[in-house]
């Protein structure tokens, strides 16, 4: 997964180097502009067992700002925003790897450095009794719950130091 570049991002922006769960690193650029979740739509994607994107719908492409060819084969954390505490994703993986459904409010990072909030649900895809991948569906979140999460996630990141 390549670093984000200023030429592709809406200015002004900040830059941080993120380290992901798999140990890889990437420069990400982000600004304070929110893109509202489109009414009536669902963002749908599927990944393999390692979290690599194998399918995404048009809403995913539209909201992420990436082309489909840039998404398929990339890890789902291509959307990870630096404001998201890593503990939230740790909880997600622990939950779905144990075969259960995970729900949560997530701030996602677009290719252009802007962000969008979602209410995400992730479930394991079980075929013939085996988990073969994961399906994630994101829908428009409640603004009041998003406001709660803005504060909660900031506290979680601060507590981690």
């Amino acid at each position: 997964m390549r670093d984000m570049h200023e030429a592709e991002v809406v200015s002004p922006c900040e830059k941080v180097r993120l380290t992901y769960q798999d140990g890889t690193e990437r420069d990400v650029l982000f600004n304070d502009q929110e893109v509202p979740f489109p009414d009536g739509k669902l963002i749908v994607s599927r990944t393999d067992l390692k979290g690599v994107i194998t399918h995404c719908n048009q809403s995913f492409i539209d909201m992420s700002g990436y082309g489909e060819e840039e998404l398929i084969g990339e890890p789902h954390h291509i959307l990870r925003h630096p404001d998201m505490p890593s503990a939230a994703f740790g909880d997600l993986w622990q939950t779905v790897e144990s075969g259960r459904k995970w729900h949560g409010y997530v701030k996602n990072l677009r290719k252009d450095g802007r962000y969008y909030w979602v209410y995400a649900t992730v479930i394991p895809n079980i075929r013939d009794g085996k988990v073969v991948g994961y399906t994630s569906v994101r829908r428009k979140p409640s603004r009041s719950r998003v406001d709660e999460c803005v504060n909660l996630y900031a506290e979680m990141k601060q507590a981690k130091g």
Partner: protein, 248 residues
């Protein structure tokens, strides 16, 4: 052996004759006896499913989960280019201009159509509205949902988008569309039960050729389909996974 077919009870009433024509046509093509039983509501149909009385079903996506995961049904086909989308509408005079304007304890008119009710509730979530906070007025038909709105007995009404679009101009002039889903991946599917597994490939072949056969097209026209899209089992498994993410 005689098989039993049924159709999700949410089909438009003017398609009843069309489904009988489809059933007759399919029996001739397959050279098998298939009895068509139409149920008045989802509860009656669900009971028949639970009692293993169904072999072939044009199923609501909500029921597809039970049929595939618990009853061993397999996906045959879906009408090409069609998806189940929902509309939330208000009275034309309503002060509500967006979902976020609705009160948490709003009132909703709806039918017993499970996938439309599910999609409708999801579209209310951004206003902090949940199934626990709404007052639901369940009625038998989408015309009655419209009537509840026109009489201002409820804040919003849930419609199958196709049903909303087919309301008369007079009725529609008294309503206002607030929001329409654009999910695309949720749709009705034709499923075969375990006793029909041997004929699955043959049925799929028959369905695949319907859209290009003049007589087949005439039969499909009676249920307002252009053609069938043949499904792989994984297509339906994917839709069921998607539905599963939407259920609390």
């Amino acid at each position: 052996m005689r098989y039993n077919m049924t159709v999700s009870p949410d089909f438009p009433p003017d398609h009843i004759a069309g489904w009988y024509i489809f059933n007759t046509w399919l029996q001739r093509q397959l050279n098998e006896s298939i009895h068509l039983e139409l149920y008045n509501d989802f509860q009656q149909q669900r009971t028949a499913i639970e009692d293993d009385q169904i072999d072939l079903i044009y199923a609501n996506p909500f029921d597809a989960a039970i049929l595939v995961r618990e009853k061993g049904f397999t996906a045959l086909a879906a009408p090409a280019g069609r998806a189940d989308e929902a509309v939330i509408a208000v009275s034309v005079d309503s002060a509500v201009k967006a979902i976020e304007d609705l009160p948490v304890h709003c009132s909703v008119a709806s039918t017993d159509d499970p996938d439309i009710n599910l999609i409708g509730m999801i579209m209310l979530e951004p206003a902090d509205i949940s199934p626990d906070s709404v007052q639901v007025h369940q009625v038998d038909t989408y015309i009655l949902v419209a009537k509840q709105l026109m009489q201002q007995k409820v804040d919003v009404g849930f419609f199958l988008a196709e049903a909303f679009d087919n309301l008369s101009a007079i009725v529609k002039s008294q309503l206002r569309e607030l929001i329409r889903s654009q999910i695309c991946d949720i749709r009705h599917v034709l499923l075969a039960g375990p006793r029909l597994q041997v004929q699955q490939q043959e049925i799929q072949q028959i369905l695949a050729e319907m859209g290009s056969d003049p007589k087949g097209r005439d039969v499909l026209a009676n249920i307002r389909f252009d053609s069938w899209e043949i499904l792989q089992q994984e297509d339906t498994e994917f839709m069921i996974d998607l539905m599963d993410t939407l259920v609390s």
